[in-house]
Symmetry: C3
Subunit: 352 residues, 3 copies
Amino acid sequence: MSDKTTRGNFFEDFSLGQEIVHATPRTLGEGDVSLYTALYGTRFAVHSSDMFAMALGYEGAPVDNMLAFHVVFGKTVADISLNAVANLGYAAGHFGVPVYAGDTLRATSRIIGLKENSNGKTGVVYVHSVGLNQRDETVLDYCRWVMVNKRDPAAPAPETVIPDLPACVADEDFILPEGLQMAAFDTLLSGSPMLWDDYKVGEKIDHVDAMTIEESDHMIATRLYQNTAKVHFNQHSEKDGRFGRRIVYGGHVISLARSLSFNGLANAFSIVAINAGSHVAPTFAGDTIYAWSEVTGKSEIAGRDDLGALRLRTLASKDQSCSAFPDKGKDGTYAPSIVLDFDYTVLMPRMV
Amino acid sequence: MSDKTTRGNFFEDFSLGQEIVHATPRTLGEGDVSLYTALYGTRFAVHSSDMFAMALGYEGAPVDNMLAFHVVFGKTVADISLNAVANLGYAAGHFGVPVYAGDTLRATSRIIGLKENSNGKTGVVYVHSVGLNQRDETVLDYCRWVMVNKRDPAAPAPETVIPDLPACVADEDFILPEGLQMAAFDTLLSGSPMLWDDYKVGEKIDHVDAMTIEESDHMIATRLYQNTAKVHFNQHSEKDGRFGRRIVYGGHVISLARSLSFNGLANAFSIVAINAGSHVAPTFAGDTIYAWSEVTGKSEIAGRDDLGALRLRTLASKDQSCSAFPDKGKDGTYAPSIVLDFDYTVLMPRMV
Amino acid sequence: MSDKTTRGNFFEDFSLGQEIVHATPRTLGEGDVSLYTALYGTRFAVHSSDMFAMALGYEGAPVDNMLAFHVVFGKTVADISLNAVANLGYAAGHFGVPVYAGDTLRATSRIIGLKENSNGKTGVVYVHSVGLNQRDETVLDYCRWVMVNKRDPAAPAPETVIPDLPACVADEDFILPEGLQMAAFDTLLSGSPMLWDDYKVGEKIDHVDAMTIEESDHMIATRLYQNTAKVHFNQHSEKDGRFGRRIVYGGHVISLARSLSFNGLANAFSIVAINAGSHVAPTFAGDTIYAWSEVTGKSEIAGRDDLGALRLRTLASKDQSCSAFPDKGKDGTYAPSIVLDFDYTVLMPRMV
């Protein structure tokens, strides 16, 4: 093998406290915004209209939170998860300053935990990743943990360190855009009269709509994010792989579910936190994604009477409507159609 | 069903004179322009080149008329046609001020007619929709009528009101961009020496070229327009639907036909009016679209000797070449390959 | 056939010295840049980040050399190769001033050679094409030769003129962007520590990664370039054609191979020359493209100790890994998986 190419890091290549500068900074442009709309059909007004966003105090329409997430995540793949067996979870995700077309994003990561699996063939890598803009402001940071192959099963196991990750981002850690104000939030233009006050903890919402995924759709998305994980792209090798076909990037399903959630959560105009997330089962081209959400928490924002936070679980289901709210059973087993269980917190205007 | 979600309006939800503000204003950007090119391969110079357009008096390359149309139309779907059985027709469509990248479009509609069908299960809704930019200037307006399901067949029928719609937009209603002038129209760069003077009423033009539609193509387009009609996106439900598969958004076929018409109408640089239009038959992924046009009218523009108007019928045909001009028969029945019959008026430079 | 449409030029329509102004100037925008990323997943930092590019002296991130190439090439198709049987070769390709989002490109061509084939049915057309920006600066020029059908086999053969084309662009003809300097070239951000000094003539690099092509992918790309060659788009006619299906635009494969070459050539930040190129076999949707490169030359740049040139051959292989470097045999026959043999020269920073 050439010394010029990389096949990515294996488990034994990581060390606790290791800092990684990821390659390929990326200037987001109007084209990325349009492609995001074209890939998911998202309709949240704040990301769709400069006028709507500026009336709330933004400089213009900020790019969708998940677009920023995917671009930052994509940069980490070549170093962190090229040899991953599975993306196990997310925690402690905070969105920072808004991202606008014209901003240049880059990413760094720090290894915060390592645990070799008992089979000696794989290990779990815990990583804290940070996305920064051209002014070195944090646009988002999050932790994730992935199961990564060892290159050499005989390589010695590192000391096991499992980081202490919160089950949920604390309210006081929410970062609100400077100057944000809700007085001009127009619910005719946003598509729903339902405000923070209208939602109850425990409420379940079937998002009704659904979207079928084609191979081109998920590959165009994943290439846009410069995510190079080969399982998404190479049918020639995947035909002999675990599933016999390409696997859809898990983040593509998150974005589809978030976009579908517009029907029921149209005023959830910004994501402030990713609390947890699990890609329960793989998704493939041809699958049709439905989604439903449960309101799992409500909190006021200190010093603000014009907006509040809703904690949500959004579940994505393939080839089955969510009218019966397919879920995880008491034994921890998910209904067979579930592919995603995503726990996050959104901002929503309040009645005044 | 959750009180947070919508399944769209049914026939009995509409009332005569009702005004609807549609959700999700949309800032069009350079990305939308590029995607439009990538989806249809359109080659009209005025939409492709800032330099070409500015030489004619535009501020820059205006976005394609049909892109503006689809974005405005898309906004109306959630309120007007989510429960539509069929999109029956268009009339009185005028294009107003040009749309440029950076403009923010929004849409409003007024119900101008209602007629319950004799079966008591459906009714026809006539609607006048207006697209506005961020300066409240009209970028286009048009009437359409759709057959919409009743939620409850027992709901009483409204008084029948059928609006008086013109067969054709009158010449004096054409809106020309301010400052438009043809002196610098370069027919080498536009791709054809054929000017307004060269076309004859009754002339038929086979546009020669053709384009096969893939599922990703029409879904990317329809999502770009934030058109949420589920028949375009959900294979899981459509496999048990009327056609067993997803239906291509009718506007996608209009744009394909307009793009194909470049070969024969390269100097038809702007659409000023939509006179009428009929989606004769559904289109599906895998279909190959051909097109031909008939010149049905020519008119001078008052006070202008440098440009004139051509009224056109462009017909799209699937899986059959248009070299024999497949058409509507004397009995009103269309040739089996025809999917679109679109009646519109374009501007073209004149010999000077 | 209508006098308004074109079916393209045939061999007897070309004459030596003929100058052609191609239609449809094109303003490249941020959307084109994003689509290029979304189509190929390219990760070269200089095209991805305004910040990275500006640190090297560019005005912003220049568009990928091959995007500029495809746009210029696309313009020539309607006049040169609509009736081409095969695209036979390229030579003497120079990239000129960088292209930025906002630039408007147009193209002209000159017929520099003609040779009728002995069968009397086809001939070879040699053409020199130039891409210009809105300031009439050359952004690229190249020669190509294509085999074109005769309309009428009885048409007399022109005098045979075969131009004298160089096997390779000379070092002194490389055009460097003004103000280019490598001091700030950050190899952490670019993705590889390997510099010009690290590469040896004769070195072979398997680029490891691969990409499966879908119909939507190559059609979206080819429409973006406004390339109208019908073999890429019309399944209805191609099902009865030479291969029974649509053929992928050869340039799409060049861009895929260049994008895959990032893994091994991450610091090859700019293409300065296209020396030669051969589309060895057709590519179809469903094919998975792998690539490998051979370093065939190294040269210093006069007056510069901070960057050098590498001449490369990049070969693309379908449905077969390049770990064994599938190549052309001594008898001139290519390994059966090879679809592209592309000879070009790149710039790379040097150790200082």
